[in-house]
């Protein structure tokens, strides 16, 4: 079985290599790795899925990696894939798992028995800011209006989001209210099981505002469906230059939902370095730029030790906040 697999992989690799002779755009000298296997802790079509497949597409099209394969392993909100990678560490040196901010949040709440320290940190690659949006016909035009509406009638000013209470969207909403000097737990947070349903609820007037990812909001804002009243970035984002940041409006909040790649524990150092180098080189390629622009991602590159520092800082900030808010 194993020999067959190897044989087939070698065959594909050689077929790709043969093709690359014919196509001068794929220069042979660039190739860093023969193959990468991406482990996706959720189903097809989600954010993790898009990140892994987009990264794989850019890496292979740019000729940095020979072939990319993908495996969706849903279960336990991502916990199953983490467990799998740890249990089968020795046979998974060729595997990269995609993950994002929830690995930090869910380890803190104890939903996951593991945390990011149990894995090999390869690289944080992209990020997405959070945004608070309102419907296009809403009388609310900025954060000050939203806060005034909240002060006038807290129970009628519900904020919705696409995550569970205590999850990322709730955390962002609570963080913003906290920074604005309100009682973060007093905000009525209404959870929806998908971003689309939350958006429908916003447009139907069921909720006053929606806490969501910036890239999700930006398409609907361009279509004139919603108004973005606050972004959690430090400076305005080029994709929506009219959208004000939280900081501009006197609310000292910044937040970015990162996405990145992890390896199995005990992955050999030379292998880790190869992955990191391939990802670092990827940023300069037009193929990556195309994938990035298509998805509205922001490049936030943290490799190796930087990634560790970044994650530890985020764990501390989020952990403190969750304790303060009473989520922990």
């Amino acid at each position: 079985m194993m020999t067959f697999k190897l044989g087939r992989r070698a065959l594909i690799a050689s077929a790709v290599a043969a093709l690359s002779f014919g196509a001068p755009a794929v220069a042979d000298g660039h190739k860093m790795l023969d193959s990468i296997h991406f482990l996706i802790p959720g189903g097809a079509g989600g954010g993790w899925d898009g990140t892994a497949r987009g990264t794989g597409e850019a890496l292979t099209k740019a000729g940095l990696v020979g072939t990319a394969s993908y495996e969706n392993m849903s279960g336990g909100g991502g916990g199953k894939a983490i467990g799998f990678l740890i249990e089968n560490a020795d046979s998974n040196h060729g595997t990269l798992m995609v993950n994002s901010t929830p690995i930090v949040i869910r380890s803190l709440t104890g939903v996951f028995p593991h945390n990011f320290r149990d894995l090999t940190l390869v690289s944080g690659t992209i990020g997405d800011y959070a945004a608070i949006v309102v419907g296009k016909d809403s009388p609310i035009n900025n954060m000050a209006d939203l806060l005034a509406a909240y002060d006038a009638d807290p129970s009628k000013t519900a904020v919705g989001g696409g995550s569970v209470p205590g999850g990322m969207d709730h955390l962002v909403a609570a963080m913003v209210m906290e920074a604005a000097g309100k009682d973060a737990l007093g905000v009525k947070y209404i959870p929806y099981d998908a971003g689309g349903k939350a958006m429908a609820a916003l447009l139907s007037g069921e909720i006053a505002a929606l806490s969501t990812g910036f890239s999700e909001a930006v398409d609907l804002a361009k279509a004139g469906e919603v108004k973005i009243i606050g972004v959690t970035s430090d400076d305005r984002v080029a994709a929506a230059p009219d959208a004000m940041t939280m900081k501009e409006q006197g609310i000292d909040t910044s937040f970015v939902n990162w996405r990145g790649f992890f390896g199995a524990p005990g992955m050999p150092a030379d292998k880790v370095a190869m992955y990191q180098e391939a990802i670092t080189k990827m940023y300069a390629t037009p193929e990556w730029e195309e994938v990035r622009a298509r998805n509205g991602w922001v490049n936030i590159h943290n490799s190796g030790d930087d990634f560790k520092t970044f994650l530890e800082a985020q764990e501390k900030v989020i952990g403190d906040l969750m304790k303060k808010l009473g989520f922990l």
Binding site: G45, G76, P165, Y192, G205, A223, R294
Partner: protein, 504 residues
């Protein structure tokens, strides 16, 4: 608008687009026929192909063709093998499978094909005429109304509460609702009833449970009981003609359900599944006493209603997708992702900015429906022959696809253990003569019922939404009537019979 339609016709009738529609429908139908493979997995597989074509109109026409092809094909496995691969065709198996067992497989497939065609075509006409105006209808429903709508959907179980079965049907429904609470709900931060198992944290999968309730016990029954299952089924496949009386019976059903199904499909939180259950419940309740007896035992009306409704609803679900950019179901969410990847942003500006895409999609729906009808009608006698396959070949085939379907959606081997475990329980329950359909209805509706209920409770700080929102109240009253009317009628009939007896 006329200009737009002409532009759409021009785009949709090019050779390339026609090939896309035909290709999409063919792929969708054939994969959809395999038990356990729903439109979501098929579309996810086709997305890379569609995106690499680069032309957004061609891509969405191909994907839409795959989508309704899969729904159409899904009804085939529901009817022939009692193995619904999509939640939307569960209701089709309620009457379709009994018909196939009675040797009317050909007729059942014909009715399904015609009902789907009519539902899809009438839906497409409604979409063309009303799409721009309907975007506001899509936003009419709040969580409170969705909760009430799910309650109306649950009233479909009344159809299985035949004489002496009321208690059993209720028990199974409650069991289904309980199974829906397993895992980490969308609204709670804690896992429930997972017994500490990580594999249960995402809850039980629909395909797993559907296969365990329907397909697996069926296959086991074929093994355990080879003599009775062989009689009758395969011999009379030729009989695929619909009699004039049957045509007259299903025509009004198709008419009503096309419209009802379409409007339910327009609501972003409802979709084809709810439409098919509601269609089944409504048609059963307005049928005459004698016809009601037939529901669940092979009624042509009971087959036509959900088949029409789910196809009309699929068409309807394009309204929020194209006019608001809001996906109403998992499948349309994947379609939305594909569109965005092709630099098309669905929303109110789509019709103005890129009318050729908007109208080409709608026109391609007509073509798609014709293709499906032409493709399916002549093939029915051959498809129905599946039942004539000797049991010792058919059973492994069913088992293989049942297991594969459960595995492929999640890529999770635990699903297989769950499938077998639940399948054995379901077989035991069938021996004890418990109806299994109410369990599945409870499971499918349970999650949405609970989510919408708890959201409404939060928004209104209590149950005030029941009387503060007139539409919610209205829907709940309809649900009560649908549940109580049959037993009230039965009681009156019984009293009258007793009265006559006393008088003698």
């Amino acid at each position: 608008m006329l200009e737009g339609i002409l532009l759409g016709l021009q785009t949709a009738f090019s050779v390339q687009m026609l090939l896309m529609v035909i290709g999409g429908c063919l792929i969708g139908t054939f994969i959809g026929m395999l038990p356990g493979l729903g439109p979501m997995s098929i579309i996810a597989i086709m997305i890379p192909v569609a995106i690499s074509m680069g032309d957004p109109a061609a891509a969405i026409i191909l994907l839409a063709g795959v989508y309704y092809g899969a729904i159409f094909g899904g009804s085939t496995s529901s009817i022939l093998l009692n193995a619904p691969g999509v939640a939307g065709t569960v209701a089709t198996s309620f009457d379709g499978y009994p018909m196939a067992k009675q040797g009317k497989a050909g007729k059942a497939l014909t009715i399904a094909a015609i009902a789907s065609f009519c539902g899809g075509t009438i839906g497409a006409i409604l979409l063309m005429v009303f799409a721009p105006a309907l975007s506001s209808v899509a936003l009419l429903f709040h969580s409170a109304e969705y909760f009430a709508l799910m309650v109306v959907g649950l009233s479909a179980i009344a159809a299985f509460a035949g004489t002496g079965q009321v208690a059993k049907a209720m028990i199974m429904t409650i069991l289904g609702l309980m199974l829906a609470t397993v895992g980490e709900g969308a609204l709670f931060n804690l896992p429930r009833f997972t017994m500490g198992l990580m594999d249960l944290q995402s809850g039980l999968g629909f395909v797993t449970l559907a296969m365990a309730m329907f397909a697996l016990p069926e296959a086991l029954f074929l093994v355990l009981n080879p003599i009775t299952s062989q009689s009758g089924s395969s011999s009379e496949i030729k009989d695929m003609r619909i009699t004039r009386a049957e045509a007259r019976a299903i025509a009004p059903v198709i008419g009503r359900q096309s419209i009802q199904g379409f409007f339910i499909g327009v609501l972003p939180g409802a979709g084809a599944t709810i439409a098919s259950f509601l269609g089944y419940a409504v048609e059963r309740n307005i049928a005459t006493k004698e016809e009601q007896e037939l529901f669940g035992k092979g009624s042509v009306k009971g087959l036509a209603a959900p088949e029409t409704a789910n196809n009309a609803a699929c068409t309807g679900s394009f309204v929020p997708l194209l006019t608001l950019g809001i996906p109403g179901s998992g499948t349309t969410a994947i379609l939305l992702g594909a569109l965005i990847a092709l630099n098309v942003t669905p929303g109110p500006r789509l019709m103005i900015d890129e009318p050729q895409i908007f109208w080409a999609v709608i026109i391609s729906m007509y073509i798609g429906n014709f293709v499906l009808l032409i493709l399916n009608l002549p093939l029915i006698p051959y498809i129905a022959k599946i039942l004539a396959v000797p049991r010792n070949y058919l059973i492994p085939f069913i088992l293989f696809f049942t297991l594969m379907g459960a595995y492929i959606g999640q890529n999770n081997a635990t699903e297989l253990l769950l499938l077998v475990g639940f399948g054995i329980c379901a077989t035991a329950l069938r021996f004890a003569d418990y109806p299994l359909a109410p369990l599945l209805i409870g499971f499918i509706l349970g999650g949405m019922l609970e989510d919408n209920f708890s959201r409404s409770m939060q928004l209104y700080d209590g149950v005030a939404f029941i009387w503060e929102r007139p539409m919610t109240l209205g829907l709940l009253i309809i649900a009560a009537v649908l549940v109580l009317l049959p037993s009230f009628r039965a009681r009156r009939a019984r009293l009258r019979a007793q009265g006559v007896a006393d008088g003698d």
